[in-house]
């Protein structure tokens, strides 16, 4: 009798667990692809979502409205101040020739009729180059060097798990890290310490009147590079020119002396942006913070329309789970000002140290979800490579994290994902995870780094919409699997393999 009952219970357990391999995701509650696509499309209607600009304020209202609609409680829209730097007109002329250009964010403005000066090419703008050339009163032309991201060393030195079932990674795969400016470290200078990696500052110190950055390593001739976005206002006017336009300019500068005219007219006014967050209370006061940012340089489908789409997917899914079945309290935050030094995230973490942050046991941060890889073709245009952009999942060393992520990745089939140590690229993970990481909160940080992120071509064609639902399911699975664990179980484990 006892044996029969045992067999019945065993059979019932097997039947219950079989469809999902042991994980109880409720398919009916997961938003559909059309629904998530609709959210992403709505977020990306404006031409840009720059911090504090109309498009971003519109996105904030939309997210606020959706959080409220889903039944999140304590939905808040918290203001964060910023300086609204707006370029109104800009141009670059080398002699009589007009060169297509784009403004350098947060750089100095010129008078309406611009500034003129002899143009001098300084290569990568090294300290030696500045010592060898008198740049006083001149416009310096410098190649902008990006960092590189090689896949093999990343995998060998820092990965826990690689999910690439189609065997797409080549031994020599790499990409330019277009968000890392090797010769323009725009962090504030430490007093008394010369920053020789900041060619822009050296141009200021040596009396240049303007800087022209050549986007030497940016694929294609596109010049709409929205950077640096640390939110630091500077005084020297500067413009970008595309790679091929830059090559022509350098060729001319080798053979002749050219007087340049640089115009950059704009305004700086006080502005405001907003963090949007809402809460789904759970059985425990211990919380998971689920984040992305809502601002973008241009339309921002990948940066970070799909991030917002995924955040809304998770908010909607978990809002349908009864409070008594949610192991942890879930805080959903769409932060402001990623393109203003991540000031929104920094402000939220600092403001809420006493009420929320102390109870947060995990931050799941999501950026640049489901991005297609685009590369430069023979004609010098962007072209879809047929592959997904390599994605990184940065995590603390913790076997529970690794196991949950490995299972979720296998279920969701998000190819070309490398699960790496949180410190794989430095002390902090790249993106919005910086401030939670610095606050000591364990983090699962999903991000990819396509080369078009900061350009005006971050458009709808860059999104693999078919992966929106699998991506949402992956995060749901990870959250549900980790939610029953205690704070102690979720911390970094020094000794685990």
């Amino acid at each position: 009798m006892i044996r029969a009952r045992f067999l019945f219970i065993l059979l019932a357990a097997v039947l219950f667990l079989a469809p999902t391999g042991g994980f109880g995701l409720d398919e009916a509650k997961v938003p559909t692809q059309d629904e998530i696509t609709g959210w992403v499309d709505t977020i990306c209607i404006p031409e840009n979502r720059r911090p504090g600009e109309a498009g971003d304020l519109q996105a904030e209202d939309y997210i606020y409205q959706k959080f409220t609609e889903f039944g999140l409680v304590d939905v808040k829209k918290e203001a964060v101040d910023l300086t609204l730097w707006r370029a109104q007109s800009w141009s670059l002329a080398a002699g009589d020739e007009e060169i297509p250009s784009f403004y350098v964010l947060n750089s100095g403005f010129t008078p309406a009729d611009g500034i003129t000066g002899e143009m001098v090419y300084l290569g990568d703008g090294t300290e030696e180059a500045f010592k060898a050339t008198d740049v006083k009163g001149k416009i310096v032309v410098i190649d902008l060097d990006f960092g590189i991201l090689p896949v093999l060393p990343l995998i060998l030195l820092a990965s826990y798990y690689v999910y690439d079932p189609d065997s797409t990674f080549l031994w020599w795969d790499w990409q330019p890290a277009t968000w890392v400016r090797e010769n323009w470290d725009a962090q504030p200078e430490v007093e008394g310490v010369e920053n020789t990696k900041n060619a822009y500052n050296m141009a200021i110190k040596n009396g240049a009147v303007g800087v022209v950055w050549i986007l030497k390593e940016q694929p294609t001739n596109i010049n709409s590079y929205y950077s640096p976005y640390e939110g630091i206002m500077t005084e020297l006017p500067a413009l970008y020119v595309g790679k091929y336009d830059g090559e022509k300019l350098k060729e001319r500068l080798k053979n002749e002396s050219i007087t340049g005219k640089l115009i950059l007219v704009g305004t700086k006014t006080p502005g405001v942006m907003h963090n949007i967050y809402g809460i789904l209370p759970g059985k425990s006061k211990e919380s998971f913070l689920i984040t992305t940012h809502h601002d973008a340089p241009f339309k921002g489908y990948i940066e970070d329309g799909t991030g917002v789409g995924t955040l809304l997917s998770l908010a909607k899914y978990f809002s349908q789970i009864p409070e008594g079945e949610r192991e942890k309290t879930l805080i959903f935050l769409a932060s402001a000002g990623h393109f203003y030094g991540s000031k929104g995230m920094e402000t939220w973490v600092n403001t809420h140290r006493e009420d929320y942050v102390k109870d947060i046991v995990l931050n799941v941060n999501m950026e640049h979800i489901v991005a297609k890889e685009f590369v430069e073709n023979d004609k010098g245009d962007y072209e879809y490579s047929g592959k997904m952009q390599t994605r990184g999942l940065f995590i603390f060393n913790n076997n529970q994290f690794k196991k949950a992520i490995q299972e979720a990745l296998n279920d969701a089939k998000l190819t070309r994902t490398v699960v790496v140590a949180i410190t794989a690229l430095g002390d902090d993970p790249p993106g919005e995870g910086i401030y939670t990481n610095r606050a000591g909160i364990p983090i699962i940080h999903y991000i990819s780094g396509p080369t078009y992120l900061l350009l005006d071509v971050d458009t709808r064609d860059k999104v693999n919409f078919d992966e929106l639902v699998p991506a949402a399911k992956m995060f749901i699975e990870v959250i549900e699997k980790l939610a029953p664990l205690s704070r102690g179980d979720l911390t970094k484990k020094e000794t685990e393999e």
Partner: protein, 92 residues
């Protein structure tokens, strides 16, 4: 005997590029195992070739020296690529 010496010399001479060829043929990270096996085979062949070269008694040692130097270089390159392939195997 002379033919064997020439073959040994040629193998040693090309040995530094053989593992690179293996990487080009098995160009995916997932193919780390074939790369590792190929490197092991290359190592054995090159070591044997170097011994064959060193065993020959020649008045002019040019071929022996050049062959040995390239052979040792080949062993180093093959060893490094083999190690990377082996390391990769533990990660994928």
């Amino acid at each position: 005997m002379k033919n064997r010496k020439v073959v040994s010399f040629l193998i040693s001479l090309v040995s530094p590029i053989l593992p690179v060829g293996a990487l080009l043929i098995f160009d995916r990270l997932e193919q780390a195992l074939p790369v590792l096996i190929t490197c092991a085979v290359i190592l054995c062949v090159v070591i044997v070739s170097i011994f064959m070269l060193l065993k020959t008694k020649e008045k002019s040692p040019g071929m022996k020296i050049i062959g040995t130097v390239f052979g040792v270089l080949g062993i180093v390159v093959t060893g490094v690529i083999g190690l990377i392939a082996g390391w990769t195997l533990t990660k994928i």
